[in-house]
């Protein structure tokens, strides 16, 4: 029982990791991030609390470095950013060196009030110098027909 029209895109990109780069985390970077976001939680600002860790959204400052190939999707005539979700798995600390990779996690269709939409989901992985994943950032882009 299927009437599915296959979503056409470059499937060779699915789950293929692309290296983005390495980023050093400094205490000054965390301080500056806290200042700009008016973060006052002592976990992120007070070293007397057992050493500071980075706020959960710190990785966002590196997300602008993430470039993604065109997956050549054959659907719709418009694309928009549909949101971001972060999973914080291990803490990020001053002195950490984060290695960042990104991959196309999935492409799927759904229907909503505005009709059929195709979601393109990318997952960017931040891992520290010990190989521990600190953060997974999932970003979705929606392809749809304008009319």
């Amino acid at each position: 029982m299927s009437t599915e029209e296959e979503i056409k895109y470059d499937k060779s990109l699915l789950n293929k990791e692309s290296y983005i780069g390495e980023f050093n985390i400094t205490k000054e970077m965390i301080d500056s991030f806290c200042k700009s976001t008016e973060e006052t939680n002592p976990l992120f600002t007070n070293e007397e609390h057992g050493g500071i860790i980075a706020p959960p959204t710190l990785c966002n400052i590196f997300m602008s470095k993430v470039t993604r190939p065109d997956i050549k999707i054959e659907f719709g005539d418009g694309t928009f950013f549909a949101g971001q979700a972060l999973d914080n798995i291990n803490p990020i600390k001053p002195g950490d060196k984060l290695t960042v990779n990104t991959r196309l996690k999935e492409v799927f269709a759904k229907t909503g009030r505005s009709g059929k939409m195709v979601f393109e989901v990318w997952e960017t992985k931040f891992a520290n110098q010990d190989g521990l994943i600190t953060t997974l950032v999932r970003e979705s882009f929606v392809h749809r027909k304008r009319s």
Binding site: M1, T3, E5, A85, F108, K110, T111, R113, S114, K116
Partner: protein, 213 residues
């Protein structure tokens, strides 16, 4: 027995609420005097046979059952009573599956397919039903917790015109939304099979959270 027949956990792409969080919220609602016995997880475009909520359900005295919400060529449908035999015939990620074939498949195999949020613009059953089709449908989701202005009115008109029975579900994608719309059954329901039987017996009615006090 009072159940929320339409909820989504983190297994659905657009929900961030976990089953554990829903249970905690139901515990809070019970403390406030509301009466909810449990809920049915109707994840989008999927049904996972490997996930078993029996233990967490028993430990917390909250009935947790599984169904699915499927996209069809005639809007979204809530499907209860999915078995491995039925699942073999469903391509869950097909957003254009034939609704009539889905309804018949369920009817012939001890399951039931019910139009979800029928008044919803774009994907509601009201946009697809006419005088001649869907003659085997006699239940729709009457109360849905995610309606926008105008959509409940469309549902009321559909039910009035067609004489359908109605169920209620919150369509929760967030923790605090669970239980906003519910279904009250005359029967005790502990399994998906019992849920289907209770729906077939037509001994239920849709209610809102405030009606459970």
């Amino acid at each position: 027995m009072i159940l929320d027949l339409h909820t989504h956990s983190t297994l659905s792409d657009d929900s961030r609420a976990s089953v554990e969080q829903y249970i905690k919220w139901i515990t809070v609602l019970r403390r406030k005097g509301y009466n909810i016995d449990g809920f049915v997880l109707t994840e989008h475009r999927q049904f996972n046979f490997d996930i078993d909520y029996t233990e967490i359900s028993k430990n917390n005295n909250v009935t947790i059952l599984k169904g699915a919400e499927l996209d069809t060529n005639s809007g979204h449908f809530l499907v209860y009573g999915i078995t491995k035999k039925i699942a073999k015939h469903i391509k869950f990620n097909d957003v254009n599956m034939n609704a009539n074939q889905l309804i018949d498949l369920c009817l012939n195999n001890g399951a039931i397919a019910i139009p979800a949020h029928p008044g919803r613009f774009g994907i509601g059953f009201t946009e697809y039903v006419n005088e001649d089709n869907f003659k085997s449908i006699n239940i729709v989701e009457h109360l849905n917790g995610s309606y926008r202005p105008g959509e409940q009115d469309r549902t009321e008109k559909l039910i009035s015109d067609k004489g359908y029975l109605g169920i209620g579900g919150s369509d929760a994608h967030m923790v605090s939304a669970i239980g906003t719309c519910l279904t009250k059954f005359d029967d005790v329901i502990n399994t998906e099979e019992e849920l289907v039987q209770a729906l077939i017996r037509k001994k239920f009615k849709p209610i809102k959270l405030e009606d459970t006090k």
